[in-house]
């Protein structure tokens, strides 16, 4: 069987990296203002927040004028994610 071909992975945009770092450095203030929401940061500034990731990303890319924008899910308090491999009605 022929080996599967993939397109090259683009390099990370340093502006994206900087904004993600800024979001996590300011996490507690973001959690106070936007608990359990998606928060978009462009140039170290919150440009959109809400429960709808699509709306948040769309607004952030519009403001930034680029595709790679920092969007993180801001948890208020402690969230523990866990699940069984298959739910009870999986069969």
């Amino acid at each position: 069987m022929a080996e599967k071909k993939y397109p090259p992975v683009p390099p990370l945009d340093p502006r994206y990296v900087r904004d993600v770092d800024w979001a996590y450095a300011n996490y507690n203030s973001l959690a106070a203002a936007h608990p359990n929401q998606w928060v978009a940061v462009v140039d170290e500034r919150v440009v959109a927040a809400g429960a709808d990731l699509g709306e948040v990303e769309t607004e952030a890319t519009r403001v930034a004028g680029r595709q790679d924008v920092a969007v993180i899910f801001v948890e208020r308090g402690i969230h523990v994610y866990d699940h069984s491999a298959f739910g009870p009605d999986s069969h």
């Binding site: 599967k4 993939y6 397109p7 992975v9 683009p10 390099p11 990370l12 945009d13 340093p14 994206y16 990296v17 993600v20 770092d21 996590y24 996490y27 507690n28 998606w38 429960a51 709808d52 990731l53 699509g54 990303e57 595709q67 790679d68 924008v69 920092a70 969007v71 993180i72 899910f73 308090g77 402690i78 523990v80 994610y81 866990d82 699940h83 069984s84 491999a85 298959f86 739910g87 009870p88 009605d89 999986s90």
Partner: protein, 148 residues
């Protein structure tokens, strides 16, 4: 090949109000997902070693190249979840790549839960991620990486 992860540490303000200095730590990675036209934009993924399968929010997988393994959405139970509030999703095959500022991982063909909505963040589980790389962490030093 080594992909550096980010160790994100913050203080739990609610705990510190009770006199407890509790650190809340997440390990994150930059993730792209393969789409019909190339790789998606970068997203933040949370490494979750307690999670058997990667969870991908709807917005993230909706533009991706997806091969559904199961067509029926099923509840995915977490701690404290019930039948009515459990997040739901379908199992599907996707291709991911993790990257840092210097390198990107080989494409990772994996099975993931493709969520019905965006109520949970992108969680990188064991299958396909930790089963094909070696995870090294030194949280005391704020360091973590995956070696593929």
């Amino acid at each position: 090949m080594i992909i550096r992860l980010s160790v994100r540490t913050r203080i739990d303000l609610e705990a510190i109000a009770t006199g407890l200095a509790l650190l809340l730590i997440r390990i994150t990675a930059s993730v792209r997902i393969l789409t019909p036209s190339g790789w998606s934009n970068s997203r933040v993924g949370i490494l979750d070693t307690g999670n058997p399968v990667t969870l991908i929010p709807r917005r993230v997988w909706s533009g991706a190249s997806v091969d559904f393994v199961r067509q029926i959405s099923q509840p995915i139970h977490g701690l404290g979840s019930t039948e009515t509030n459990a997040i739901r999703g379908r199992l599907g095959r996707v291709t991911l790549s993790l990257e840092d500022e210097e390198a990107s991982s080989p494409p990772i063909d994996t099975v993931a839960y493709l969520l019905d909505d965006d109520r949970a963040p992108l969680l990188l589980g064991c299958e396909g991620i930790l089963t094909c790389a070696t995870l090294t962490t030194n949280l005391r030093a704020g360091q973590a990486f995956l070696e593929f």
